[in-house]
């Protein structure tokens, strides 16, 4: 990325200034007006990917907001983070969404939360704050956390109309049958086939990023655990890594290996549950029953290792909270051996069912080109030819000591999204074995450090859904000044919209399940 930045500096002579950086995160200051040109140059000439866009309120100290643009490039472990000043008296920035659909929601979120206008955005309506919010911008520093807003009747959200003979609308949610988070799906259907789907998220928006700003960094770990309950350890690890990097804390190598083990365990239990749930949604109940049993085994070993079935309470700054005894490690080894054997049986059962394959193949096809334009990450991306894996591209914890195959398919249907999960379970089991074999001795946690204020750092973790990004700025008294969270679901929801088009509405649940996105992680 360093040479990319050098070339850019020459191209945009005098308008890009390097800023304090880390070996794996280059920061550079740019003028906000240049961002469309720079982003276009980075994307076309340097084949870089815009991983995230977010804003920060620096009005009190610097009379300005800042927008951050995180770029990464395949085969290069370094992130390039462009930082653009936006004067507080004229809060607006040129939108990238016309050229880059993947930032659609992210830019609108910046508008809703900070009141910075995304100029030229093709659909500049509210997204993160619904229409029943008055004109406030809660992530600004001058908006107190415990503000009680008066009741406000906003406009009804307008959906694209559904017109035509025999074409009608099916509104589903936000309250669903079963234990599902809230989200509104508005289908336009012609009989059974879906013409288009309109999504409405952010029903569970709870100001999580703002909450981080009130907490000491050590307590932020617990908040990060609850951003998306099924990815507790991944989110907490991403947060810890960001704070550790910002404060220059060294994580002992044993802790790195233990984090790797826990991250892979989280992947295994969630992937097994998803494979079962996909089978369930096509009515192949017996496979789901098996998957439920296997997941239970995985959760039991989670509990044995951490005291929590969902791996909560284990992450902490500087390492992990508890060390493992030899007997716990032996139990883990036994458990993964059984798990692998029985999972193989489950896969054989699924493969032997023609009726299941018939339902999954060519269902919910997400075209690789669309996936790439929408910036789809994680499982959904890898099933549609997007070869991204943070563990390989930006190694963290102990991943640089391990090797594995990243499953990538081009077909982009439900079957392949399930296949990616199946492949990853086997890869994860092999990685667990290797990590346990090389588990170094020594401490499992670095001593607590006083966190220096005013330092920023980005951290990325490949959660089981995909790329989780955290960006923090440290504040005085061990506190967090700003914490940006990007869950993989944020980018992937629009991918679901594309994937369901042309399918029949009865297949929507299984397509949705094959992505299995987090509402809470998106809404924050």
């Amino acid at each position: 990325m360093r040479e990319v930045l050098e070339q850019l500096t020459q191209e945009f002579a005098g308008r890009i200034a390097a800023a304090p950086s880390y070996p794996d995160q280059l920061y550079a200051a740019i003028a906000i007006a240049d961002i469309p040109a720079i982003a276009a140059a980075l994307r076309s000439r340097h084949s870089a990917r815009l991983a995230a866009v977010f804003a920060e309120d620096r009005v009190r100290p610097e009379a300005a907001f800042y927008n951050y643009y995180v770029f990464e490039r395949r085969g290069n472990p370094c992130y390039l983070i462009l930082r653009a000043r936006i004067p507080a008296e004229d809060p607006r920035f040129p939108s990238l969404a016309p050229a880059l659909p993947s930032v659609n929601w992210q830019e609108r979120e910046i508008h809703d939360w900070f009141g910075i206008q995304a100029e030229g955005h093709p659909n500049p309506r509210r997204v993160a704050l619904h229409d029943n919010w008055p004109d406030v911008h809660p992530l600004r520093k001058d908006f107190p956390l415990h503000t009680a807003l008066p009741a406000f009747e906003g406009d009804q959200h307008v959906y694209r109309p559904t017109l035509g003979e025999g074409v009608f609308q099916i509104p589903v949610g936000p309250v669903h049958a079963g234990i599902i988070e809230p989200g509104h799906f508005n289908f336009a259907v012609a009989g059974e086939p879906i013409l288009y789907l309109q999504l409405r998220m952010f029903y569970t928006h709870k100001g999580t990023e703002k909450l981080f700003e009130q907490l000491p960094a050590q307590k932020g770990v617990f908040l990060a655990e609850s951003v998306s309950g099924d990815s507790a350890f991944s989110h907490a690890t991403a947060f810890c890594q960001a704070v550790e990097k910002a404060s220059g804390m060294d994580v002992p190598s044993r802790a790195g290996f233990m984090r790797t083990v826990l991250l892979e365990l989280e992947r295994i239990d969630n992937h097994i549950a998803d494979v079962g749930a996909i089978a369930m949604d096509v009515g192949f109940v017996i496979a789901n029953a098996h998957a439920g049993r296997l997941r239970e085994m995985a959760l039991a070993i989670n509990e044995e290792l951490t005291g929590s079935r969902l791996l909560r309470g284990m992450a902490c700054l500087g390492g992990v909270r508890r060390d493992w005894s030899a007997s716990q490690i032996a139990a883990l080894r036994d458990a993964i051996a059984t798990l692998e054997r029985e999972f193989r049986d489950l896969v054989a059962l699924l493969k032997s069912s023609d009726s299941t394959r018939d339902r999954l193949e060519r269902t919910g096809f997400l075209h690789p080109e669309k996936a790439s334009a929408l910036g789809i990450v994680g499982v959904g991306g890898r099933a549609s030819g997007i070869d991204l894996d943070v563990r390989r591209d930006h190694p963290y914890a102990a991943y640089r000591h391990l090797s594995w195959r990243v499953p990538v398919y081009q077909e982009g249907d439900v079957l392949r999204r399930m296949q990616v999960r199946i492949d990853e379970v086997f890869e994860s089991v092999a990685m667990l074995r290797a990590a346990l074999g090389d588990l170094p001795g020594g401490p499992h946690r670095a001593p607590d450090l006083v966190i220096e204020p005013g330092r920023c750092a980005l951290s990325a973790v490949e959660g089981w859904r995909g790329e989780i990004l955290y960006w923090v700025r440290t504040g005085p008294a061990n506190r967090i000044e700003r914490c940006k969270i990007k869950d993989p679901s944020m980018n992937n929801w629009p991918g679901l919209v594309e994937a369901v088009q042309g399918n029949i509405i009865a297949d929507f649940p299984v397509i949705n399940k094959s992505f299995n996105l987090s509402y809470s992680g998106t809404d924050r």
Binding site: F168, V172, V282, G283, D358, R359, I504
Partner: protein
């Protein structure tokens, strides 16, 4: 006269009491195959009892159809049940051409449920009704073909007569026409009772439902009646299949000892048929909705072949 009344009452009690048990049996067997304990055998009774005591929510958009449907379905299904030979070949009543009346009484119930699915005004109801009609457009003629096959063999459409003929030719069900008709009827049974691979009775996903989507707006006693009627319909269809094709243990007339033997045989045969249904449900995934008409077309073809082969062999 009193004899007829007694038979009617006996068969009514049998239909009302046995139907939830068959549903419970199928649910329990399915759960066991999935290594679950599952709800108890008697759970459907508790469900009906619970629903009967509950209040109801009726959509403001609903018309009189919505309130009439539960009664129509319940009564039509019961009446159909009274025309089927359950424990003795002699049916309590045999009106309007016997088996034809059974088919169309069941059809009447379905017609009303589909209408009230539309009437409630929820988009899921409309989806369910349109799907139900797509499936039954082929299921109903198939049922007719299978019925004609049997009726031609017996020389009568009266179910009592059909059963009597069957008792005299116990091994007749091995004849090609009967085997084909049985297979067609089995597929109809799967479709009409909303089972995998046609419909998934256990799903909570409104978008995939057929039968459940139509009755999504029902609650309380109305829901109890509709669900009870659905289980009675299942029992009637199963009874028809087992007593017309496997008449073992069926006595020709009602007598005390004959009824007890008939009951025992009925239970045994229901158990066997339930196991088959459960195995089919467990071993298969639900079909893609647009493939269901193909399955029904297969059933229809089987029915047509059955009818043709009655004249060949």
């Amino acid at each position: 006269m009193t004899g007829t009344l007694l038979k009617v009452v006996a068969q009514l009690v049998l239909l009302l009491m046995l139907a939830p048990l068959v549903s419970g049996l199928i649910k329990t067997l399915k759960a066991r195959l999935q290594m679950r304990r599952g709800p108890g055998l008697l759970q459907p009774y508790s469900d009906i009892y619970k629903l009967l005591r509950k209040g109801m929510v009726i959509p403001n958009t609903a018309s009189w159809l919505f309130s009439a449907t539960p009664y129509v379905v319940f009564l039509a299904t019961l009446l159909a049940g009274l025309m089927a030979p359950m424990v003795a070949a002699d049916t309590p009543i045999g009106l309007f051409g016997g088996v034809l009346a059974v088919v169309y009484l069941l059809g009447l119930g379905r017609f009303f449920v589909a209408l009230s699915g539309l009437d409630a005004g929820s988009p899921f109801g409309g989806l369910g009704s349109s799907r139900e009609m797509t499936v039954s457009a082929l299921a109903e003629p198939t049922l007719m073909l299978a019925v004609f096959t049997v009726a031609i063999g017996a020389g009568s459409t009266s179910l009592a007569e059909i059963a009597r003929v069957a008792i005299n030719q116990q091994w007749r069900f091995l004849a090609p026409s009967q085997v084909l008709a049985f297979a067609a009827l089995f597929l109809v049974l799967i479709a009409e009772t909303g089972r995998i691979p046609v419909d998934n009775p256990a799903t909570h996903l409104e978008l995939t439902m057929i039968h459940e989507a139509m009755i999504l707006e029902y609650s309380g006693p109305y829901l109890a009646l509709i669900e009870w009627a659905a289980s009675i319909k299942q029992l009637v269809l199963m009874t028809l299949m087992i007593n017309v094709f496997w008449p073992f243990g069926l006595s020709t007339a009602w007598s005390l000892s004959g009824v007890w033997a008939g009951l025992g045989w009925l239970a045994l045969k229901l158990l066997i048929l339930s196991c088959t249904v459960v195995l089919v449900e467990t071993a298969n995934a639900k079909m893609r909705l647009f493939r269901v008409p193909e399955l029904m077309a297969v059933a229809f073809t089987l029915g047509a072949l059955a009818l043709i082969s009655t004249f060949l062999f």
